[in-house]
Symmetry: C2
């Protein structure tokens, strides 16, 4: 039966660390009732041992020296919650080498150094739990790894950055512009003082890198992911999207096509009747379509002390059950790679587009624009020209599916036309057979 | 490391059995790549060994004698997919006694005989997988049991009968009455020739019995669950619901209040902006709120050959990983009961109500009705009286929260009034602080 209790050490006593400690301490007897043995929080390490986190700890539990955890033979599971690449990576690697299992919420670390970490785990025959790294309140890692272990995943579409979704929701509901919505998000604590990480799509790209690796066995390749944020979205585009029957969401997408996998993050127009189009505010959702299980949507909190803490605790409990059962099941918790797949080049991706042109209202302009599109194999599905009174009027169109590379060429030509007053805005469209 | 391959026997080669076999046979090498060892379908038993299921089986795999599976020492996991109570129960019990693990999609069996089955599994130190018994395409059993193992679940609201949801969606979208929507569902194969099981809420009650046991440790007690189907819902009520900003869904509800758990199935009005209100057609969804993870919604297919087959396969893989790992983890797959909780009596449940009265349009009628409600501690939140031209006009009202017992008494008195022409229609309302 292995050990009678499983001991845990937490590195990093910030928001998620506090949530994790709170659950392990407050729900200890309930967890024991459910799983049949105790999971004990033995030690927490943080450089700041004085700040009040609003939680009472037994004396001596909080220390500043990480080695007291990593070198403690009684600790079975090390939880890394300090974030960033260094020294998080080194802490996890030392723990793995000591034969300890690791749990982390560190998406940036996994997205960039995941392959090395999972290799080290495999070598030491221990596991790495990372449910908390992608959409804390949604158990998507477990769903993919276990519930869909016998299935083939066709596509994943995620609203996996709460900050961006809050801003887009506010812009949509109130018609305000990006700057105002961002300030509101900051004042509510939903966006950092430096929000680049969230609004430029980097955070979403970290998470979809992890999901793409998990779903398709694609090597971790965060840097190759096409990433476009939401800073250029205007109330005008949201208004036009509404007129066409769409909502604009920052989507992280991973999709298999043959031996290649598309992975990309960008603002996306989605038919407004889709369930995922109605996921609002800071909430996250992941839509996933697979061969056998069919379409599915998982919705919940994306971040926060308690949801993310709960994800960390669910990993701890899974690993504790394995240790306690004397299981070698841990290889099943690895990240099996599939050498047969590779990432599709963005220029080869096919999508539909929304285009907003500022065209001078003169005869022949539209025919010139549609001529250029046609030359590059892009066909127009629908078009609206707004007003006739000003010098440059917005011309808005939806295209059928076209190749990224062709669209890039066409837009370059169109933007050079003397009758086109401003750079053409484009937003990719998903979810229609076109 | 235990055995090199895990062998599976399926009893029942109907829709779900065929889906399960299809996945195990077609995805065999992909499953092996992901989990590291083969899962082998060794035998299928069915009384009909001749029907063409559109799937090619190796010679000798399909037999009519169940004992060839149960007595085969090489078979590790018996999958029961024949449905019904007998002989499904006996087959599972014999398999458990032989030290085999069991997987079942049989909700009726679990809801009524679950306690005996889980006890037998515990005694024989084997596990019972039942992901397929509740909303096949949604891994809700795993989510509750594993992802929320350290959390406290406050409430569960499920659209877990696709037939009823299809009928209500059709009635809502097209304004047709129940009978027409049912016929359409039958012609599409979404409803049985005898649809009572689905439309009377019994199927939903089976599933919520399982969820309530899993979430709260409540003993299986299907027969005590208050169950009301959708046969009395009229287009008029759907129309009024829309006017008040609601949708009508057949909800299965389990909710903790103190040491008691409410468990009930009935048509329910939900604010239309809720995500779950927008779950349409035959799809299922489960909204779950817990202390740490917060609000979450899981959406997917509720039934069908492949989604349910996938759920069966995910249980097979979980158990196979445990066997292969030599784990004693199986006690964690049991159904730990909590002797501290019991089911709340329906008469003590508090909800808000929608009431539709047929009142003769005479002075004083409304004051009499509201007087009776007031006497029974029921206060009116809003009211619409429709038209003044006919003899009996519909009076529609929404109440604040009231006790079931009080409402029953009030309705009895109201229905006895000479100025009330027909029996008052009532629909419970969820999701508002009232």
């Amino acid at each position: 039966m292995g050990k009678s209790s499983i001991n845990v050490g937490i590195i990093g006593f910030g928001t998620v660390g506090t949530g994790t400690a709170r659950i392990l301490l407050n729900n200890r007897s309930e967890i024991e009732r459910r799983i049949g043995f105790p999971v004990v929080l033995k030690r927490i390490a943080d450089i700041n041992v004085r700040a009040d986190r609003g939680i009472g700890l037994p004396g001596g539990m909080l220390v500043s020296d990480v080695s007291l955890l990593i070198n403690d033979p009684e600790i079975d599971i090390i939880v890394e919650l300090i974030g960033g690449i260094h020294p998080a990576k080194e802490f996890i690697l030392s723990a793995l080498k000591k034969g300890k299992h690791a749990v982390t919420a560190n998406k940036a670390l996994l997205a960039t150094e995941g392959s090395a970490l999972f290799e080290a785990a495999k070598k030491n025959n221990v596991s790495i739990g990372f449910e908390a790294a992608v959409a804390g309140g949604i158990p998507i890692i477990k769903v993919v790894r276990e519930s869909l272990a016998g299935d083939r995943i066709k596509s994943v579409y995620g609203i996996i950055n709460g900050t961006s979704n809050y801003i887009l929701t506010k812009m949509t509901d109130e018609g305000v512009d990006f700057g105002i919505a961002l300030k509101e998000a900051q004042s509510l604590g939903y966006a950092e003082a430096d929000p680049a990480f969230d609004i430029e799509g980097i955070d979403s790209a970290h998470k979809i890198a992890i999901l793409a690796s998990l779903c398709y066995g694609l090597p971790f390749s965060f840097k190759k992911i096409y990433t476009q944020g939401i800073t250029a979205i205007t109330p005008a585009d949201i208004q036009f999207a509404t007129e066409f029957g769409y909502k604009i969401k920052l989507l992280a997408i991973a999709k298999q096509s043959g031996k290649e996998v598309e992975v990309r993050v960008h603002p996306t127009m989605l038919p407004r009747e889709y369930l995922i189009s109605n996921v609002n505010g800071v909430r996250n959702a992941i839509y996933l379509e697979s061969d056998s299980a069919g379409p599915a949507l998982y919705y919940g909190s994306g971040a926060g002390e308690m949801p993310t803490g709960n994800a960390v605790v669910s990993d701890i409990i899974d690993i504790a059950r394995d240790i306690r059962g004397g299981s070698q099941r841990i290889t099943g918790l690895g990240m099996p790679q599939n050498p047969g797949v590779k990432m599709k080049k963005m220029e080869d991706v096919l999508t539909s587009y929304y285009l907003r042109l500022s065209a001078l209202d003169k005869p022949g302009v539209l025919s010139k624009i549609s001529g250029i599109l046609g030359k590059h194999n892009i066909s127009i599905k629908s078009m609206i020209q707004k007003g006739r009174d000003r010098k440059a009027v917005p011309v808005v169109m939806m295209t059928h599916k076209a190749r990224e590379k062709d669209m890039a060429k066409a837009l370059r030509e169109i933007n050079r036309l003397p009758s086109v007053a401003k750079k053409t805005v484009y937003i990719r469209v998903e979810g229609e057979e076109n």
